[in-house]
């Protein structure tokens, strides 16, 4: 277990509603609506809390007809507090970690559900956004302009500017009317 996982566990459990959910699940598996009724919460609020508990690997879910049934991940809960607290940090240096966090912050700011909300003005931020868009293209594969536009236009309406910028930034190369992702 890494320190990042340990932090997720502590964060997810440092909320009384989630502690009550965990406590309810000690009696056996349960579905969202039943938990909502027991805890006086809306089903969507329970789902939100369950997502946090699932992300921390404290609960597991399975689909049963129309319901999602949750149960405790007993292996994770059996880990001692000592094991969790003595977890090692991920093997990344501080600089790498800061860059990763910055990149994620830019992505969270400029993208919503896979759509680019606005083209950033700052070049550094713009490059990050274009790199995210470039992930939609297979490196080395040749795309026609129509194919390229079909990928970019659902992300942002100004696909011409993005296409041009991606070429000038060396993310895409253009030969005639054929485009290739290079990085």
């Amino acid at each position: 277990m890494t320190q990042e996982n340990a932090l997720k566990i502590f964060k997810s459990l440092s909320d009384m509603s989630r502690l009550r959910i965990v406590q309810s699940l000690t009696g056996g598996e349960m579905y969202t609506e039943l938990l909502a009724e027991r805890l006086g919460l809306t089903p969507s609020t329970v789902s939100f809390h369950m997502k946090k508990l699932e992300d921390a690997s404290l609960v597991v879910s399975r689909k049963e007809q129309y319901y999602t049934v949750y149960s405790l991940n007993r292996d994770m809960l059996a880990a001692s507090l000592f094991d969790v607290a003595s977890s090692e940090p991920e093997q990344t240096d501080d600089q790498q970690k800061r860059e990763k966090e910055y990149r994620q912050k830019v992505i969270d700011t400029f993208f919503e559900y896979g759509k680019l909300k606005a083209i950033p003005v700052q070049r550094k931020k713009k490059l990050i956004c274009y790199e995210v868009i470039a992930e939609r293209f297979v490196p080395g594969k040749v795309y026609s302009e129509k194919e390229l536009n079909a990928v970019i236009s659902p992300i942002h309406e100004d696909y011409c500017t993005i296409r041009r910028d991606m070429i000038s930034e060396g993310i895409l190369t253009r030969k005639g009317s054929e485009y290739v992702r290079v990085k």
């Binding site: 909320d15 009384m16 509603s17 809306t42 609020t45 559900y113």
Partner: protein, 111 residues
């Protein structure tokens, strides 16, 4: 319309008490959702106050604004559901539930 504004003020005050209670109970996320709900009552009170005091505007303008909110937040909820965005599903549902309550009371007061 005064009763309606009083109702919204009451909801804002009880919302603030609920937020404080949830925070004291260590339920930060639930407190955040209660804050979203309270904020909707505040927004609706501001909108009602501004539109009913504007010459030429009135109950119709307030109702139209509430309907605009409903359309926007309904769209946002649909989007959140589409993407399985658990937090925003709760946020948008909370906003819409508060708005439904506001609209029901507004209609009652306007009759």
């Amino acid at each position: 319309m005064e009763t309606f504004i009083d109702y919204l003020t009451e909801k804002i005050e009880s919302g603030k008490a609920e937020i404080a209670g949830l925070e004291a109970d260590g339920r930060k996320d639930d407190a955040d959702f209660a804050r979203v709900r309270t904020n909707i009552y505040e927004v609706c009170r501001t909108v009602t106050g501004a539109l009913t005091s504007r010459p030429g505007a009135g109950n119709g303008a307030v109702k139209a604004q509430f309907e605009r909110f409903k359309a926007i937040w309904g769209g946002a909820l649909e989007k959140a559901r589409e993407h399985g965005d658990a937090r925003n599903i709760v946020v948008e549902e909370t906003k819409l539930q508060a708005l439904e309550d506001v609209i029901a009371h507004f209609q009652e007061a306007a009759e």
